[in-house]
Amino acid sequence: MTGTLVNTTVNGDAVQFACPTDESLLDSLRDRIGLTGVKEGCGTGDCGACSITLDGELVCSCLVLGVEANGREIGTVEGLADGDKLHPLQDQFINNAALQCGICTPGFLVAAKALLDKNNNPTEEEIRYALAGNLCRCTGYDKIVRAVQAASKDLRKKK
């Protein structure tokens, strides 16, 4: 492999890796720095399982080149909890049985957090459209939407 050196920040930590220029950030995160919470469901931006934030913006990491991460800030599911304290979304996903197989869960959590960061009291419709880029094949989305509603309530109470 001929690699390009990339200096980036992942979940607040400085990280350095080398990757081929045509490698996706998804592959870099999984294979170079071992963050396998970021999942590949399609590799073409259609399923959202690889959702991350890049400088705070929600993106599919399969549609970003690893080299583009140089100097940027990346957020993944691994950075959601604060130490041993789960994020309200994580708690409510468990409480509401919002996951069955769980493969889509990291992407949903990252996307739902991006939504709640912008809008802490979304309507059901806003939640459904904000999560339309994340495919779940197990749940029919019912309990996922309910979990996001419950978490948004928790977050509003906290303030």
Partner: protein, 285 residues
Amino acid sequence: MRYEAPTTTKEAASLIAGEKGEAFVLAGGTDLLVRMKTGLSDPDLVVDIKHIPAMQDIKTTDSGTKIGGAVSGSRLNSNKKLKKAWPGVVEATNLIGSDQIQGRATMVGNLCNASPAADSVPAMIAAGAKAVVVGPTKRRTVPVEKIATGPGRTSLAKGEIIESINLPKRTGKSGDAYLRFIPRTEMDIAVVSAGVNLTLEKGLVKTARVCLGAVGPTAVLVQKAAKAIIGSKLDEESLKKMADACSAACNPISDKRGTVEYRTKVAGVLAKRAAKIAFERAGGK
């Protein structure tokens, strides 16, 4: 694959012009990375334009609004002024993919990918938008409808890059709208689509532009459809005339997303619905 991230458009243009192999501009990457993943493209050079300041601007001047080539859909959506002036253009761009895609995808990328089903393109054409094209040596300004020449093909010469899209200044009572038909509520490519932009005078349509997507090799500006509603209050008769003109202008294919008959019929339906929204937005009653 060589990856370059220049800081000026000219530099970017020169890099691409100088590459002997396959060279691509990387804006949002939401088309390019899919092509790479599925083996449709194996670039020798990728030029990331997101580090070029001019590409990241949304600037409103006396003559209109200039939107940089690397401005993402989500940035467009958070620009309230632009949304107010050109709601149809913004909503068309925002319809592309999910929130994740919106975090990256750009109007110019959508245009240069040259898919006949590109969502932002009929809206831009209806709006009368112009593209600022920068080559290694000169710049030119071209109406958006002159960019795509067929599926995946553009009129841009090698090394030419679109730096920005210029939307005309809004005056008087005006409104635009874009609608597409997709089988789901999100995440699909338009089966057929319609963008309508119009201005009103004394409650009647004074000027109009109607543009269809996914009904031919490129977006189709339908002058007869515009004519059908100019001078009207969008009464049923003129709307029907417009819809018929739209259907008549269709030259679609049957493919995995829709049939010739379906696209032809629904093009008119969507144009009617979009015209009504644009009319309302312009303050029409």
